[in-house]
């Protein structure tokens, strides 16, 4: 197992170094192989994690919860790495392409490396550092496109996210203080002992730490009111990066909050942490649902959908029933697959039609025989349509809500999710089903700009198909290893390890 973990840590970093030096073709190939390989490595970790936690070298700690998030990240890493093979193809003849692609692939690999490292950290300080590293790298990736919007989005992102992580650092410090009261002044913020000493921790510092952690890491997760960077950054970044941002980075920040939730529940009891998460979750969900209606930009649409799903995750944890927690973890996996698909499909649409504005995209189903329907499927999956994975996870969350007697919250959840469905599907409908108007071409676009039927690249279709398959598997019949993993993870979340 140590070999697997070491490989998981080393491979993407090595791929980043290779991408900096080698030619574009080699970089592409190495990235794709590393991505798929990482996913395979994480799959190999699943059986071990289902049985118990795995600790190495004092700094690494892999338990079932970690592996769930590693699965989400590595799946997206694989999908995006393959997708990039086709995504960058159309700009291959542009000036400065080799420099751009070098930076792009190096950044992509580093970004994935940091997100794979974060769930494996054994102490809270390293966790914070890992999340900070993800911020730094992703900010550079958001800025990689040479547009005004990208520069603005990157600056907003790095400033707000770093300020939020400053709060999270304060939370880490208070967590140290709480731990030091019980475990001595040389406590090194490692997570296992802190959880074990849970009931003995002083209440006020833990309360403060949890509140600050939700606010601080919630900045990176996209919780209201510190979500303002999210639509900008996710829409201005190149599509593969947007997919990783929405599908994995938000999840990694949620992972950090989950760790603080475990400590807070052990020390304070379930009431306070759940109330905090419920408030933030409902606020985020409400705001996202409202913004989804009549959104004009396709990637901003998907970004607000990510915010919606993060709100659902927070609400799910606040319900507290075991089935709700299982739903939350399944939702992390399902959202990663579905959001990745959606962004990848959106990328194809944007490339095809040359614009991110929804008003300029229409007739997708006709012009894109594969990506069009797949994008529609992805959007429907995001809206929790059976038989996809997100339906199962949201159903479990709502069921958990009723089981925990949080009837009002569950009802509000259902209403808001329906509202979000309205917004998403209306926009998707406009893009896919509405026939292409001839007046568009009459506006002076000229015949040269009229899009022709056909896929830009096969490489951009394959990962989406894989994603849909994954969603079907998750929704119809999750494999028994996965169920065992989820059961173990729920057990860890509910009980002080």
């Amino acid at each position: 197992m140590l070999a697997v973990i070491a490989a998981l840590l080393a491979a993407p970093f090595a791929a980043a170094l290779v991408s900096l030096r080698a030619r574009a073709a080699a970089a592409r190939a190495v990235t794709a192989i590393t991505g798929v390989g990482s996913f395979g490595l994480v799959l190999a970790l699943v059986p071990a994690a289902s049985r118990g936690e795995v600790r190495y070298l004092d700094y690494l700690r892999v338990d079932a919860i970690s592996v769930v998030f590693l699965l989400a990240t590595s799946f997206l890493y694989a999908a995006v790495a393959v997708y990039s093979l086709g995504y960058l193809a159309h700009s291959r003849r542009d000036a400065g392409f080799s420099r751009y692609s070098r930076r792009f692939y190096a950044g992509l690999n580093l970004f994935a490396w940091s997100m794979l490292a974060a769930p494996m950290m054994s102490n809270l300080a390293l966790l914070w550092i890992a999340v900070e590293v993800t911020t730094v790298i992703s900010a550079l990736l958001v800025a990689i496109e040479d547009t005004d919007g990208a520069a603005e989005a990157a600056w907003k992102y790095v400033l707000i996210a770093s300020a939020g992580l400053g709060l999270a650092l304060l939370a880490t410090i208070f967590a140290y203080y709480a731990g030091a009261q019980v475990l001595g002044q040389h406590y090194n913020l490692s997570f296992g002992p802190l959880l074990q000493a849970g009931a003995r921790l002083p209440h006020t510092p833990v309360r403060l730490a949890f509140g600050l952690a939700v606010l601080g890491f919630g900045t990176k997760m996209g919780l209201f009111p510190v979500h303002t960077w999210l639509p900008d950054a996710h829409s201005e970044a190149p599509t593969p990066v947007s997919a990783l941002l929405s599908g994995s980075l938000l999840a990694v920040s949620f992972y950090a909050i989950l760790r603080y939730y475990q400590v807070a529940t052990a020390a304070l009891g379930p009431r306070f942490p759940r109330d905090v998460l419920l408030v933030f979750g409902i606020a985020s969900l409400l705001l996202a649902a409202l913004y989804l209606i009549d959104q004009g930009d396709i990637k901003r649409l998907l970004a607000y959908s990510s915010m919606e799903h993060m709100g659902i995750l927070a609400i799910g944890v606040s319900f507290g029933a075991p089935i709700a927690l299982a739903g939350v973890l399944l939702h992390v996996l399902g959202h990663a697959a579905a959001k990745g698909n959606a962004f990848m499909g959106a990328g194809v649409l944007v490339q095809k039609f040359g614009s991110k504005r929804i008003s300029r995209i229409s007739g997708g189903l006709d012009l894109l025989p594969w990506s069009g329907p797949l994008f529609g499927v992805a959007v429907l999956a995001l809206c929790a349509m059976p038989p996809f994975g997100i339906f199962r996870s949201e159903f479990e969350i709502v069921e958990g809500g009723f089981a925990a007697s949080s009837n009002v919250a569950a009802a509000v959840l259902i209403v808001l999710v329906t509202l979000a469905f309205l917004g998403l599907s209306a926009m998707a409908n406009r893009m896919l089903l509405m026939p292409r108007q001839t007046c568009h071409t009459a506006q002076g676009d000229g015949a040269a700009a009229a899009p022709v039927r056909g896929e830009p690249s096969g490489w951009m279709v394959v990962p989406v198909v894989a994603g849909v398959a994954a969603l079907l598997v998750l929704g119809v019949h999750p494999p028994s290893e996965l169920t065992a993993l989820l059961t173990r993870a729920v057990h860890e979340m509910g009980v002080a390890a």
Partner: protein, 238 residues
């Protein structure tokens, strides 16, 4: 109201230094030139290192000497040099035609805030009061410093947020963020003085990485907009 007992010399001295950090934070509102903001940041970091040395001497924590030296080296010397180099470098570039005064980064006048200075200071006082008393009410006892210092550090963090919100150019916002980190390291000094040194060093290193990325993005912004102002960053809405 009962009379407040006089503090010990150590406690009083430490509180004075902590108040000095808070005053430096307020002073950043006043500074019009970016150069002065950087110097004030260096002074603030120096105060925190001095406090670390004081705590190390009075409470017998030799690790803090190393930490004080490292943080002084990083935040008083290296980061201001990086910022100075960045800002000086922004003034160049472009053809020989007359560049306006604002393009010479090092002596650039920081973008004016959205409120007048006096109103901003009153707002900052209110915010600092909120932070100060809400943390104070929690009665978190620190082993090495008086609890005032923790409340002051949270006030510094909150005032740094106000600073970042009110400023209208990227360099001032970045320096505001750095002073936020200063406030948090002051809190760490109060509450987590015994944290293993390796973790504190890791935090410092991380700060350096963040500064490098900030520098890159500021260069990018300046490259596109020919100024450091954020007044035009309004295109992404909804």
């Amino acid at each position: 109201m009962s009379a407040v007992a006089a503090p010990s010399v150590y406690s009083g001295g430490a509180s004075v230094i902590a108040v000095g950090v808070l005053l430096a934070e307020f002073g950043m509102f006043r500074q019009a030139l970016l150069r002065d903001q950087v110097r004030l940041y260096a002074a603030q970091s120096g105060l925190i290192s001095a406090l670390a040395v004081l705590v190390a001497a009075a409470r017998q924590l030799p690790e803090l000497y190393v930490l004080a030296a490292l943080s002084a080296g990083l935040k008083v010397v290296i980061v201001p040099i990086v910022l100075r180099r960045l800002l000086r470098g922004l003034g160049h570039g472009g053809d020989g035609a007359q560049q306006d005064q604002a393009a010479h980064g090092w002596t650039e006048i920081a973008g004016s805030g959205s409120l007048s200075l006096a109103s901003t200071i009153l707002l900052a006082i209110a915010v600092a009061a909120f932070g100060f008393f809400s943390v104070g009410a929690l009665r978190i006892a620190s082993p090495v410093l008086p609890p005032t210092a923790l409340a002051i550090s949270v006030s510094v963090a909150l005032v740094a947020f106000v600073l970042m919100i009110m400023r209208r150019d990227v360099a001032s916002q970045a320096i505001g963020f750095l002073s936020l980190e200063n406030g948090i390291s002051l809190a760490a000094l109060v509450v987590a003085a015994g944290m293993p040194l390796i973790l504190e060093v890791a935090f410092l290193f991380d700060l350096l990485v963040a500064v490098v990325v900030f520098e890159l993005l500021i260069r990018l912004h300046h490259g596109r907009a020919e100024s450091l102002s954020t007044a035009d960053l309004t295109s992404l809405r909804g």
